[in-house]
């Protein structure tokens, strides 16, 4: 990669990748924080709830003892319990005279870290039971420490994961950008961006595929145009050589008005031929490369072909050839009328050229469910098998056609125009008996206007 292309791709990626990674980590950590908060809160609440239930149970038990046997019974109960129970509780009784009697207070207890439950008895005596929260808080503190450790790990994982995920997401984009930058700087349109291969259906692959398809299209156009330019410049050299030669010969010869006039007439005719050739070559190139502007409309193929037949009526009469027109039929194609007429005219022209006096040229329009067909049959010379593969080539002229006027572009133009319309053209031939050229075009709907007239 050249330094120029890397510079072109640099400003975009780090900012984009970093942003993507931070977003990923933030979402991950945010989700984790919610989980941690809920877990901690539920645990703390359930621990408090359990302490509360213990205190309430004891309170009920002590209140029952007090009511049964007064302060003595309660003291005995508490003392008996304190001998067996592992955990000591704080117990206090406040009678009506507001005299507090503490029955049990474990040593070293901080009264502020006590959870206390109270119960007023019928005679106004208040019984209080307290339980230390130290154990619970200790547990929660350990829990917090563990959660903190885990959270730290999670953040690290999120950042690392974000980095890797982002990198793998950005990699194809980066590759695409590099390829584009390379193509822009080198002008090479044959380069393609490789598919990632792993996620065959994802959006980046889709983008890559589309981008490659676009490159295919551009490369096709560029190649076709370059080829057309090469061909045109090559094909024009021969007639220009003739033109120049004619003029030069006339200038070099001894002055003779008639010869000069002849040479000038040759020059005009030759330049007319160059012009026709140039126009036809441009048409062929445009049709082949897909840049020909087609004015498509629904038209009756028979009408268009009939006009072309009409054009050649006099020529056929003069040569003593029977030329038949298609019978009218509602066969509709969506096509450029002028171009299709040109196709028909070229095929008829061709058929008339190679058919001798007394022969026939029959022009028909046929159709099946999907295709409309234009068929031009002649009883002419046919095409030799060795020449058959070349008749569609530009400027190919068979041995027998060298005596005829023409550029050798007629059939190439026919093929190019028909294919630009999504159609095909075929030939069947038998040397000495004649040829059949068949053009097949996609059939169109009968337009409502002509249906109404019919």
């Amino acid at each position: 990669m050249t330094s120029g292309t890397s510079a072109a791709s640099r400003p975009f990626h780090p900012a984009f990748g970093l942003r993507l990674a931070l977003w990923y980590a933030a979402l991950f950590v945010g989700g984790w924080a919610v989980v941690v908060f809920l877990t901690y809160w539920l645990t703390a609440a359930s621990l408090a709830q359990r302490d509360h239930e213990i205190l309430n149970a004891k309170l009920g038990q002590y209140a029952a003892a007090y009511e049964r046997g007064g302060l003595r019974a309660l003291t005995e109960t508490v003392q008996a319990e304190q001998r067996t129970a592992p955990e000591r509780l704080f117990v206090r009784v406040v009678d009506r005279g507001a005299e507090a009697i503490v029955l049990s207070q474990p040593e070293g207890w901080d009264l502020r870290r006590l959870e206390i439950a109270s119960l007023s008895l019928m005679d106004g005596t208040l019984v209080q039971v307290g339980k230390s929260t130290a154990a619970r808080e200790d547990l929660l503190a350990r829990f917090r420490a563990v959660l903190g450790m885990v959270t730290l790990t999670v953040v690290l994982v999120a950042l690392t994961g974000g980095f890797f995920v982002t990198r793998s997401a950005v990699r194809p984009i980066r590759r695409l950008t590099r390829a584009v930058a390379r193509i822009i700087s080198t002008g090479r349109t044959d380069e393609r961006v490789p598919l990632t291969g792993d996620g065959a259906g994802d959006a980046i692959d889709e983008l890559t595929r589309l981008f490659n398809a676009m490159l295919d299209k551009i490369e096709g156009l560029v190649t076709a145009m370059r080829g057309a330019l090469d061909n045109v410049s090559h094909d024009l050299r021969t007639p220009l050589t003739r033109l120049r030669g004619t003029a030069e010969m006339a200038l070099a010869a001894t002055p003779d008005l008639d010869r000069c006039r002849d040479a000038l007439a040759d020059c005009v005719e030759e330049s007319d031929r160059v012009l026709v050739m140039l126009n036809t070559l441009m048409d062929i190139s445009e049709a082949e490369s897909g840049t020909m502007h087609l004015r498509r409309e629904a038209l009756r193929l028979g009408d268009v072909v009939a006009r072309a037949v009409d054009l050649y009526r006099d020529v056929a009469d003069a040569k003593g050839i029977v030329l038949t027109a298609p019978t009218p039929a509602d066969i509709v194609v969506v096509a450029d009328g002028t171009r299709i007429e040109q196709v028909a005219a070229n095929l008829i022209d061709n058929a008339l050229k190679y058919t001798t006096a007394g022969g026939r040229v029959d022009v028909d329009v046929l159709a099946d469910s999907s295709r409309a067909r234009l068929r031009v049959r002649d009883t002419g010379a046919g095409i030799r098998p060795d020449e058959l593969p070349h008749i569609w080539d530009r400027l190919f002229r068979g041995d027998s056609s060298r005596t005829e006027r023409g550029l050798g572009l007629g059939l190439s133009l026919v093929k190019a125009i028909v294919e630009a319309h999504g159609g095909t053209v075929d030939v069947e031939t038998e040397p000495g008996k004649g040829s059949v050229f068949t053009v097949a075009l996609p059939r169109g709907e009968v337009p409502s206007k002509s249906a109404g007239q019919a």
Binding site: E269, V276, R295, L311, Y312, V315, Q342, D349
Partner: protein
């Protein structure tokens, strides 16, 4: 009648000017858009011939500016672009006709004369006459020296076209587009065939030839050889 040629290529401007002078026009030449507008403001021209690729101000802008200033001179556009879209664009900009380079001078002359006729609205004749050949446009009858000549419709159309342009050369392209109304060159000898059939009928039985072939240029109908 005065014609303005707006063309920056000196050779083309020169041969068009010479040809138009021979056809009886007075001619001025402007080599760029600004000069063309100056000329058009100072003088009323019968026709302006405007090339589209011009220095300083392109042809379409010149035509547009002329129309804005109320100059109604008919304009024949000359252009190297041959697509239908370009033609439409030229006519929409205010051009009256469009001719693609390279062109036959005969065709340019015919179009200039058509624009002049359209502007002056000369009364339409009912008969055309060249020597002893007479064509009646109303009854569609043709006689030569009093002898009736039977013509097919297309032969009649060709003869009418040649007689309207009597004494001037008519190119094959002009005949194809006028008689068959074709916009593309059918690359064939249909014109030769039609002309020779017409010649069979109007010339062969008579002493003097009227329909002459100008090799490389076209055909002309005239009384002198």
């Amino acid at each position: 009648m005065r014609v303005l040629i707006v063309e920056d290529d000196a050779t083309i401007a020169d041969f068009v000017a010479r040809g138009l002078r021979e056809a009886g026009f007075a001619v001025d030449v402007a080599a760029d858009g600004e000069a063309a507008l100056d000329r058009a403001r100072q003088q009323a021209y019968a026709v302006a011939i405007v090339d589209l690729m011009l220095p300083k101000r392109d042809g379409l802008a010149v035509i547009d500016q002329m129309r804005r200033q109320g100059i109604q001179t008919p304009v024949l556009i000359l252009s190297a672009r041959r697509s239908v879209d370009d033609r439409v664009k030229g006519l929409q900009a205010g051009g009256d006709d469009y001719l693609t380079k390279p062109f036959a001078f005969a065709e340019l002359l015919a179009r200039v004369q058509a624009l002049v006729r359209r502007a002056t609205r000369a009364p339409e004749p009912t008969t055309l006459t060249v020597g002893d050949l007479v064509l009646d446009l109303l009854s569609r009858r043709v006689t030569r020296g009093g002898t009736p000549i039977d013509l097919h419709p297309r032969e009649f159309t060709l003869l009418e076209y040649l007689m309207r342009n009597a004494g001037r050369v008519v190119s094959k392209t002009m005949i194809v587009s006028h008689v068959w109304e074709y916009t593309f060159d059918p690359q064939t000898n249909i014109v030769d065939v039609l002309v020779s059939r017409l010649r069979e009928k109007i010339d062969r039985p008579f002493e003097t030839r009227l329909l002459h072939t100008m090799r490389g240029v076209g055909y002309v109908l005239r009384t002198e050889a």
